[in-house]
Symmetry: C2
Subunit: 244 residues, 2 copies
DNA sequence: GAGTGGTCTAGACCACTTT
DNA sequence: AAGTGGTCTAGACCACTCC
């Protein structure tokens, strides 16, 4: 191990594989390694970074667990692409009663720029003074069931309003147009009576029980880049969650 | 490796570490390794099972990831105990607005034995003809906010009604009295108007929006051993979820 | 100091996929 | 056949905890 510890700055005995992880995340975040691209083999990666194949392997396994790369035996390791499907079903948890997916369709959309609230400044990366607010209505099987308001900092998403209409899945746009990969989110779920505004947008009866989901979404580097409040009319549909 | 593959039945080239995992799970499930007990060291475990320390280590890491054991550097690996606290906060996801926990207190409880429904027979392990139904009301900060109905197969939980009043956290009882460790659950969440029965139990206004959470809980061996329907009055409280 | 888990290495062979 | 990830080994040293 003396050879390895000499070739690199080992800061305070931080594990070597974390250095490998950080290096790879930097390359992916910078766009040097774009989604879909194949990474070097474990052996090559280890050789390049001056670590053993086993250490490179450990880093790659960790990245796969976090959904950042995908590995296929006999083929290689690839930077995970947020395809519309995977992004949708990973972060869009509404399911049919039998557990199957229904693809939600976009019905209405509006994008505006406005000053950020105090709360948004405290949560979002970069403490932005201004944010883009994206309001959307989605329907499932022809019924308007979903209302979303996504808030993102303007500095990270230049020119976003001009891109309207935005794609069905925002996270795909974030990745392709802005090299921001959403990999983790925290959600707080409540049952509420639909607010007049939301009910009006969804054409729902006033006071109908709805799921209100407040999400904070983070990118590769752990920066909170989106705040989102969704309302779901869950008739026969369910919000599916797994506890492990 | 020839030595290793000779000492054990390696069925169809299943990974060795899975054999280690299965062995340990069997010992834990059978009660031979009770919660809180310290496992052998990686080296000893490997020696006993005829695998290398590294292979034993891989199995232990997997078991820790699944919440089945707990490892502490310099101390050892221990069978995870479902303490009231860990069970509560792992599977009880209601949080204060600031994200902190409040301990829910038990207000009312009733346990009865009844015939199982068709759906329960299809879901629960053993296709039981009869189930125990545990109905409970919980309060947080003095307000009755939670109503739960848990359904378990009678064959797995003999004498359960005689144990009433049951402890605050059922999963602790399952583990200590019946050697059944709940390690995984799937939940389907909906927003509903409180049913008359639930509203009456909670002393809530009829039609109040509530979270309805349908849970299927599985044990170490992946058997579905409990079906639970909870209703939450989420005023300022949230149901917290993490997506990764 | 003794014992534990945590990290790392170097090399081997296997299983899978593609050419 | 060549190249990839998947498994496994054996041995080393480090960091942590407890006595």
């Amino acid at each position: 191990m003396s050879a390895a510890s000499g070739t690199r700055e080992r800061i305070l005995s931080a594990p070597l594989y974390k250095y490998v992880i950080e290096t790879l995340i930097d390359r992916i975040a910078s766009g040097e390694l774009a989604p879909g691209i194949m990474l070097p083999s474990e052996a090559d990666l280890g050789a390049e970074l001056g670590v053993s194949q086993g250490t490179a392997r450990k880093a790659l396994i960790d990245l796969e667990r976090r959904g950042i790369v995908r590995r296929r035996q006999g083929v290689g390791t690839f930077v995970a692409a947020r395809t519309p499907e995977s992004a949708l079903f990973h972060f869009f948890r509404l399911r049919n009663p039998d557990g199957s997916h229904s693809v939600p369709e976009l019905e209405e959309e509006s994008v505006r720029r406005r000053k950020s609230s105090k709360c948004e400044r405290e949560t979002l990366f970069g403490r932005p003074d201004h944010v883009f607010e994206i309001e959307r209505v989605r329907s499932i099987d022809g019924r308007r069931l979903v209302h979303e308001i996504s808030v993102v900092p303007t500095p990270l998403f230049p020119g976003l309003p001009e891109r309207s209409p935005l794609p069905n899945t925002l996270y795909v746009l974030y990745q392709h147009a802005y090299s921001i990969a959403i990999v983790q989110a925290n959600e707080n779920i409540r049952a509420v009576s639909g607010t007049p505004r939301v009910c009006e947008r969804l054409g729902a009866a006033a006071g109908l029980p709805m799921l209100r989901v407040d999400r904070m979404a983070r990118d590769l580097s752990g920066r909170t880049v989106e705040q989102r409040t969704s309302h779901f009319v869950t008739g026969n549909h369910c919000y599916a969650v797994e506890l492990t």
